[in-house]
Amino acid sequence: MTEPLNTYRGGPDERGHFGLFGGRYVAETLMPLILDLERAYNAAKEDPSFQAELDSLNAHYSGRPSPLYFAERLTEHLGGAKIYFKRDELNHTGSHKINNCLGQIQLARRMGKTRIIAETGAGQHGVAVATVAARFGLPCEIYMGATDIERQKPNVFRMRLLGAKVNPVTSGSGTLKDAMNDALRDWVANVHDTFYIIGTVAGPHPYPAMVRDFQSVIGKEVREQMMEREGRLPDTLVACIGGGSNAMGLFHPFLDDRSVAIYGVEAGGHGIDVPNGHAASMTGGQPGVLHGNRTYLLQNDDGQILEGHSISAGLDYPGVGPEHAWLRDSGRVTYVAVTDREALEAFQLCTKLEGIIPALEPSHALAYVRKLAPALPKDNLLVMNMCGRGDKDIFAVAEHLSMEM
């Protein structure tokens, strides 16, 4: 491990780098747009009315703050750390994705953009984008891999009900990375009127920092709520990592509190040893450049991107946000992976013990909590980000468990 730094919250630098990672690796057509977006975002950050409007939407439209819930029966069952869930699955639209979408659509409006596009994997981001586009009366197109459309049908229908056009992506492997490619292609061709709402802490600068800022409401609330409940900070944080936005939202406000142990849980799919059988880019990938930034990627020896695999469409992305890549290398955050099977078991356990049906994404975080919590003392305060609810996943789970619906 490297020497501890004075702060882990200082990034990115003015060019969007987190150490080796991040940056702006985009085609020239997009470069002026991205610089423009950065200027607009910096101005919005300085404007108190921007934050006030966002706070109001978070409170009255989305339902924030989300509760910090003591998972008593799970705690008893595991017999170690005192486990809390940050209940972001109770947000309007059912996941943390709305936190970011409300922020970005406000920015789009400030910039005078009149058309919204986005990529989506599990469809949670797509639903959140379609929702805010409906709320603000802007036309919206969502790019979604043809494979994902198949496995996340309820969300596809929700997007259509909300008035979004869902464009199936058949290029490449028809999953999230290809949807992101096609969204970038749309943006390049429609730069004059279109705002691209990226759904995670990836993409070119300023997206990773901007999405992190909008999601940090999660960790800020946890700080306050834990102080109120227990009179001190938590000891352990756990969140799942797809692109890394829910995790960064929880982690970032705590990065400089050295007493807080932080774990990011990647999708181990069939197992980290199975070639192209997982989506754990930091546990089983190499640094590279994709979708506008340098980060850890699933790729072959020739620099071709691999599809990866996860039971969870929302974690099935061959990259990860560049700030996570940097936090990994700097040693501040520990990244681990759990398998499809472990996530499914955690899904069932949580449903039965807590009466909460988690999405398959946070089921990964929960699967790691199952490993971690029993070894921790009873006074260890552990917070897991329950970043999405499982309604969208019940069909897939039924299939995996060979259950009749």
Partner: protein, 278 residues
């Protein structure tokens, strides 16, 4: 003077614009692709852009995406792409070869080693679509040292404020992307392209080649009237695609069809040269 500089000097002396042809290395397979590469200069290509295939070509339209995937499926690698250049260079010491692609395969190959191997193989220039001036400092010094031209794209969105940064370390030629969009989709509008090219010419003495969406003889003729070169890519790889069998393999049609199209597109440029020689 690099081969690219020499070529533009010769074109100027001949009083004509140059045809820049793009094909993807290894599409539809290594042998066919090498054979087509060797045939391009005689068919009328003045400069060759050779695509380094990538799994995620974000700035490319369906035709070049498909071409890239065909090459990868047939087993193309960076090593094989460089060996194609080496084989080509054994027989042709005049026609410039510009390697075009995305940064990740170069980064993973190792930047310094890539630049050294590309230069040793006989490549003359690099176009790296997703490596803007803001991010190129880990590649530029090596390219300069090895005498490889670093060719940058200027686009309709590159405004006056940005143009100097784009031109600053460009050499060989400037690639003007004629549409705000991906390759092979919309057709360029010659009038507005002309205005943009004038804007760039006011700031640089480098030759300018115009590309994205060029498919017809008329477009080649019209664009060559406002710039030093015209790039054709999607039309060529689409022609290749049209000749493949059901399993995506080359047929007896593949090479003649591609070279025939190059010859056809080069005609207006050759006629111009003859006309001005009279």
């Amino acid at each position: 003077m690099t081969r690219i500089d020499q070529t533009f000097a010769r074109l100027k002396a001949e009083g004509r614009g140059g045809l820049v042809t793009f094909i993807t290395a290894g599409d539809p397979d290594y042998e066919t692709s090498l054979s087509m590469l060797r045939g391009l200069p005689a068919a009328g290509a003045d400069i060759i852009e050779l695509g380094m295939p990538f799994s995620d070509p974000m700035a490319d339209g369906p035709a070049i995406q498909a071409s890239s995937l065909r090459a990868l499926k047939a087993g193309q690698t960076m090593k094989k792409t460089l060996s194609m250049v080496r084989e080509f260079r054994k027989e042709d010491q005049v026609t410039p070869v510009v390697l075009m692609g995305y940064y990740n395969p170069i980064y993973v190959y190792a930047v310094d080693r890539f630049v050294a191997d590309a230069s040793e193989a006989g490549a003359d220039g690099l176009i790296i679509v997703d490596l803007p001036p803001e991010e190129d400092e880990e590649l530029r010094p090596a390219a300069v040292e090895k005498g490889l031209n670093l060719i940058r794209l200027a686009t309709p969105t590159t405004d006056e404020a940005r143009l100097p940064a784009v031109l600053a370390n460009t050499s060989g030629f400037v690639y003007y992307v004629s549409i705000a969009g991906i390759t092979g989709t919309a057709a360029p509008d010659v009038t507005s392209v002309g205005a943009h090219v004038e804007r760039i010419k006011a700031r640089t003495d480098l030759p300018i080649a115009i590309g994205f969406g060029v498919k017809s003889q008329e477009q080649v003729r019209d664009l060559a009237a406002v710039a030093e070169g015209v790039v054709v890519g999607s039309a060529l790889v689409s022609a290749i695609a049209g000749t493949l069998d059901e399993d995506g393999r080359a047929t007896a049609e593949t090479e003649p069809k591609l070279l025939g199209l190059v010859q056809y597109l080069a005609e207006p440029l050759r006629q111009r040269a003859e006309a001005s020689a009279i």
